[in-house]
Amino acid sequence: GESVGLHLPTLSVQEGDNSIINCAYSNSASDYFIWYKQESGKGPQFIIDIRSNMDKRQGQRVTVLLNKTVKHLSLQIAATQPGDSAVYFCAENPNGGSQGNLIFGKGTKLSVKP
């Protein structure tokens, strides 16, 4: 089975609301995590990353939370906009993975209603 997964395959939110996308990972030795955004017909685009020595990291309108105890990762998007509609992937770099090979979760489709 895959080591990274998502709780919700689809998420629909109202424009202006906050969005929370969750991710569970199974490799407790993973030390680096990334969230990617993939718009239709495009490649994944980096949003934010976090190392295992942190539990929170903030970017512009986005926050990533890492809970190593329960092996859970979340992406929070503040004031969600129509342009945020996309598929979001979490990815982990497992300990010992050479050259930065990433293991991706299954993805959550975020739909923003105007």
């Binding site: 993939q38 017909g41 993975g97 050259q99 993805g107």
Partner: protein
């Protein structure tokens, strides 16, 4: 300027054919990757490569072979194409850094190549 580019964007071919997808990155990165994204949007690493080491995902058939003419290019050759090879293939690159060669920097992805095998 496009950081990671792939050609072609679309590729339609018959079963049994041999085809190649090209990838170029102008970021000066030392490591490049190929991913396969299936119809359910699941992304899976196929290869990672730098000038020292090729790491192959053991589940990838040996009909797939990466070839790197230089540090900025990593092409994907596929022999004897099968129906199940239909997918979107993404190239990516990163600068490997950190402890024990693990990459802590983001991977930059290309726009993808949609391969359809008939």
């Amino acid at each position: 300027d496009t950081a990671v580019s792939q050609t072609p964007k679309y590729l339609v071919t018959q079963m049994g054919n041999d085809k190649s997808i090209k990838c170029e990155q102008n970021l000066g990165h030392d490591t490049m990757y190929w991913y396969k994204q299936d119809s359910k949007k699941f992304l899976k690493i196929m290869f990672s490569y730098n000038n020292k080491e090729l790491i192959i995902n053991e589940t990838v058939p040996n009909r797939f072979s990466p070839k790197s003419p230089d540090k900025a290019h990593l092409n994907l050759h596929i022999n004897s194409l099968e129906l199940g090879d239909s997918a979107v293939y993404f190239c990516a690159s990163s600068q490997v850094s950190g402890v024990s060669g693990r990459a802590y920097n983001e991977q930059f992805f290309g726009p993808g190549t949609r391969l359809t095998v008939l």
